[in-house]
Symmetry: C2
Subunit: 79 residues, 2 copies
Amino acid sequence: MIAEVYIELKKGVADPEGENTLKALKLLGFSTVRNVETVKMFRIHMDEEDEERARNILEDMCERLLANPVIQSYRIVMK
Amino acid sequence: MIAEVYIELKKGVADPEGENTLKALKLLGFSTVRNVETVKMFRIHMDEEDEERARNILEDMCERLLANPVIQSYRIVMK
């Protein structure tokens, strides 16, 4: 089973990489760009066929390693 | 218009962040995990209503700034 885990900054948390990318795009002349947000995605391959159990394991991974719950939220998409 | 731009390493290019995440997950006891790939996503907000034109602009952004064509490929998803 393959899952995609999206790790995103919570609303209100500064995203300096996104801000700098926005500035760089504007400097390059992309005048219609309004905002850039950065999101991290992990594509995880697992030996686990039960979707419910895989989701529980992935949530555990997010809480213990992949996401920082103070500033980040996560979303799991099964493929 | 909002677009999601996925920047991914090309096949065969080393992904040290993914490898280290895999090792860390195994050390934490997640024994069913087989592989971890890391993908970068930019969510881009644009003042541009024409989808075709937006896609052209986004491809230009990828080629000029967001992706390194030697080692990365990109994929654009309109929202």
